[in-house]
Amino acid sequence: MSGTQSFEERADWLRETVAKSQAGGARVHPDLEEMAAYAEGGLPEGRRAEIQEHLVACASCARFALDLAEVAAEPFAATPSIPSVSAARWEKLHPRLVEEGLALPRAAGALAAWVPAAAGRRHLGSLGLAAALLASVLANGWQWKEAKEPRIAAEVVQLSITRGEPEATPIALAERSRHQDLVLQIDANAVDPFPGLKAEILTWPEKKLVWSGTLEREGAQLTLAIPTSFLDSREYQIRLWGKSAGADGWKKAGEHLIRISFPS
């Protein structure tokens, strides 16, 4: 150690030391909305103070907050809202929104308006689907792969459990639930590590089997894609079955109750 230490070196040492000494909460980077709210001078005082403490130790967040405050405060003129430019941008964005299942394929105006963009496909019925597809074909040519369904706006609530550890097996609606599948996400660590896993979906409390399928492993998550045509807004029991290597039969690995709500 000597007196010739550079400013950057001392700044690094200070930041690291302060960061290490901070309580757990201050180490977590604020999310984008919080950073935006902070830059605007918003947020409740307690959270604001926590973020200030974080900024003291996290140079990258401090830099981000500064940039955002600067950019948000400046009344720099947006590109003039020329209708044709604006419309052209939207037209370029639209196929991406369709690709993501956020918007419907471009269709003739009346039909497009008739189909609620963010509603679940199940409400369209087969006639609605055929009409939407026909409209898509008319507008875009014969592009089967473009005829995707909108994102599912369903809500999945985990109610209780009839077998296993309730808190240890969180079931949630996966981000990629859209088009024609409602995708459930289950923490793989919370399920016994059977090489094979399948699930049955039963109505609750009638216990009538409506669908069964295998669970896919995606890193630390198990996912279950259920075609929405099999589902209604109601409560279901999910039965998980596991199969060990070389074993003949399936063994029950858990039972969970969930409520699925589609927007009316």
Partner: protein, 214 residues
């Protein structure tokens, strides 16, 4: 027929509810795509890059609109997404554009008001409390002395040693620039009193302390 356009929050609320999704999405896009485009242009991006980045931003906006919590204004939230995307893009390209841009910004400030800039007069000078602590090979005692300062003063000092200008610290902490300067002034006096030649000696360390001076 209502002639009043929906405000941002109404648009977001309707998007979250899935009401007339496409029209509301188009309106939000129409309202802010130009602003986002301009923010990329200010970063020196070419027009076609601005278009691509703007498209990415709105894709993210609409993918994440469901989790918007109404903590921030919609405009600032969209700009935060844009800024974050840009920084990620810069990292992906292996560039250092944000620093470069910031430097330009600092230069502009410097021309306007040199007195507000860091490195501040006392950083690296004989006056710098850090220097005394560092020369004694005890940076910890500097930090311990800083930790004893009142919260606001402590935050100012630590941000100051991150290399922030007093103006930047004022923005980050939401206080006046003059307040930052006075906090730093008092902090320096307190730290010097603690760490300077007349201040307390660092704690003894395994019997090796004091072997060089006497």
């Amino acid at each position: 027929m209502s002639a009043t356009p929906k405000d941002d929050l109404e648009l977001v609320r309707d998007l979250q509810a899935g009401e007339d999704w496409e029209e509301n999405a188009r309106l939000l896009h129409e309202r802010y795509a130009g602003l986002v485009w301009s923010s990329f242009q200010r970063e020196g991006q070419k027009p076609e890059e601005c278009e691509d980045l703007t498209q990415e931003v709105f894709l993210r906006v609409f993918k994440n609109i469901g989790s918007f919590r109404y903590q921030a204004g919609v405009k600032t939230w969209i700009l935060a997404i844009a800024r974050n995307l840009f920084l990620n893009e810069v990292v992906r390209r292996g560039e250092s554009a944000p620093q470069h841009r910031k430097q330009e910004g600092l230069d502009q400030v410097e021309r306007l008001d040199p007195g507000q800039l860091l490195p501040a007069p006392w950083i690296g000078s004989e006056d710098d409390p850090w220097e005394s602590a560092w020369k004694r090979q005890q940076p910890e005692i500097f930090l311990a002395a800083v930790a004893e300062l009142p919260d606001r003063m402590r935050q100012c000092v630590l941000l100051y040693y991150q290399g922030r200008t007093t103006k930047e610290i004022a923005i980050l902490l939401g206080i006046e620039n003059e307040t930052v300067r006075s906090q730093l002034h008092f902090a320096k006096d307190r730290l010097r009193a603690k760490l300077g030649p007349g201040g307390p000696k660092p704690p003894a360390k395994g019997g090796t302390e004091g072997t060089s001076g006497s």
